[in-house]
Each structure stands twice: as structure tokens, then as C-alpha cells.
């Protein structure tokens, strides 16, 4: 398959419905921290924006608009306790196997096999959907997430952008 131009196509779609052009984030440069550890001695934190949450948590709105919230999920949470609410992509396969977008079981296996040093004990999930408050995301939500990542001594983050 050819790569799908989601950004271009979504912009066309929304503008055909009368919405103004969506302002996608663009950066000229990329921040860079050299990574000197091996994977085998690294603690990896998992973040996914696929709308996954624990059944006892406030569920994500499947049609979220400007949802700046996130959920903390202990990485030893039983798989059967997890759910997914996200309607901006066809989630039927992901609901059959959440590892498609939130690879928690695969990471547990990689930890057990010694491929990574450890999986950080708390994973972060977001729902987001359509987001028009990028500044609030950067100044309010992200610092809270960074605190959690640093408090559990994460060396790197594996982000699944769903």
C-alpha cells in the first residue's frame, strides 16, 4: 500500500464540512539527547494515544475534542481490565488485541526476555481526538506526564501515536 496522506486528507475533509484549516504541529528542529545506555539496562516507559483505560477509570470519550486528560495504567494491570474508546480510527482490530496500539503484553515479554532492562511501572494513555489547544497540552498536560516519567526513573519513552 502507498502511505496515506492523513494530514492532507483530513484537512480536505474537515474544510469540506466548513471547518477552518487544522493547524498541525510543525517543528524546524528536533531536540536530541544522546542515549548512551544499552537497551538491556534501560527502563522504558510506554505512552499510547489510542484511548486505552482501565475499566475502573473515567472512560475516554470516543469522539473526544480538546481532551487534555490522561490516564495512568500500572503495567501489571491484568489485560482483561483494559478497554479502548477511540472512534477516529477503525478500532475493531485493536479491540480484539490491544497490543496493536498499546503493546503492554509484548513489553512485559521483552522485559522478561531481557531485551529491555525494565518496563516503567506506570504507562500513560491519552484519548485526545481532535485537539485545538496545543499550548495547553504543552504547558499543562505534558509537564505532568514528564513528572511521572521522571519519578519512575524512565530512561526513554516508547510513544505509540494512535
Amino acid at each position: 500500500m502507498k502511505p496515506i496522506e492523513y494530514v492532507t486528507s483530513l484537512n480536505k475533509y474537515y474544510q469540506s464540512q466548513g471547518f477552518p484549516p487544522y493547524k498541525w504541529s510543525e517543528f524546524e528542529t528536533s531536540s536530541w539527547t544522546p542515549f548512551d545506555k544499552s537497551l538491556q539496562e534501560s527502563r522504558i516507559a510506554l505512552i499510547s494515544s489510542a484511548g486505552v483505560f482501565k475499566k475502573d477509570q473515567d472512560p475516554f470519550d470516543a469522539w473526544a475534542v480538546n481532551d487534555l486528560s490522561f490516564r495512568q495504567i500500572s503495567t501489571d494491570t491484568p489485560y482483561d481490565s483494559l478497554k479502548l474508546h477511540h472512534n477516529y480510527f477503525d478500532h475493531r482490530d485493536a479491540v480484539k488485541d490491544l497490543n496493536c496500539v498499546f503493546p503492554i503484553q509484548r513489553f512485559q515479554e521483552l522485559e522478561k526476555a531481557g531485551v529491555i532492562g525494565s518496563l516503567a511501572p506506570i504507562a500513560i494513555t491519552l484519548g485526545m481526538g481532535r485537539l485545538y489547544k496545543r499550548t495547553a497540552l504543552q504547558t499543562e498536560t505534558v509537564p505532568e506526564i514528564i513528572d511521572i516519567l521522571q519519578n519512575q526513573n524512565s530512561d526513554a519513552v516508547f510513544l505509540v501515536a494512535a
Binding site: 500500500m1 502507498k2 502511505p3 496515506i4 496522506e5 492523513y6 494530514v7 486528507s9 475533509y13 498541525w24 504541529s25 510543525e26 517543528f27 524546524e28 528542529t29 528536533s30 531536540s31 536530541w32 539527547t33 542515549f35 545506555k37 544499552s38 537497551l39 534501560s42 522504558i44 489510542a50 470516543a62 469522539w63 472512534n87 477516529y88 480510527f89 477503525d90 478500532h91 475493531r92 482490530d93 485493536a94 480484539k96 488485541d97 497490543n99 496493536c100 496500539v101 503493546p103 509484548r106 513489553f107 515479554e109 521483552l110 531485551v115 529491555i116 526513554a156 516508547f158 510513544l159 505509540v160 501515536a161 494512535a162
Partner: protein, 82 residues
């Protein structure tokens, strides 16, 4: 993703909802994760996106993406609000 420029990134050319592979395919999911994790220690150019070599194996375009969401919402009796 190229416009956002995360420091290290992997691109898997699968439809949205399959960023880490197909449901139930543990080997594929594991290999995708391993390949992506290796970028952490091997990447040298900030913002470079590495293409993973796995193939979806059938055609899939924008209209299929929209059709998939419509079918899903019909199956689940969910309101359409896209």
C-alpha cells in the same frame, strides 16, 4: 511525523489502529517493537524517521480508512460525528 520531528521515530506503513502490528500476531508485534527500540541506540540524526520494512500486503487508501470507520460505527450502533 516528519513535520513534528520527534527525536527518534519509526514509521510502519499499516493502517491507523495497527501501529504495532496485526491482532494476535505476536511474532510480528514483537519484531516491530524490537526494530523500533533499536532505533533508540542506533539513530544519529535528530528528527529522522526510519521506515520499517513490514508490509500490509494489500491495498488500503483514504477511502478505505473512511469506509472502515463507517462500517465500525454501523456495527457498534455508534453515533457518527467524525
Amino acid at each position: 511525523m516528519k513535520q513534528v520531528k520527534p527525536p527518534r521515530a519509526a514509521f510502519l506503513n499499516f493502517p491507523l489502529g495497527h501501529q504495532c502490528g496485526n491482532p494476535g500476531d505476536i511474532d510480528l508485534q514483537t519484531n516491530i517493537l524490537k526494530d523500533s527500540l533499536n532505533i533508540l541506540t542506533t539513530a544519529s540524526i535528530p528528527g529522522e524517521v526510519k521506515d520499517l520494512t513490514y508490509e500490509w500486503g494489500r491495498s488500503f487508501d483514504w477511502s478505505d480508512y473512511m469506509k472502515g470507520i463507517e462500517e465500525m460505527l454501523n456495527e457498534e450502533n455508534a453515533p457518527i460525528q467524525l
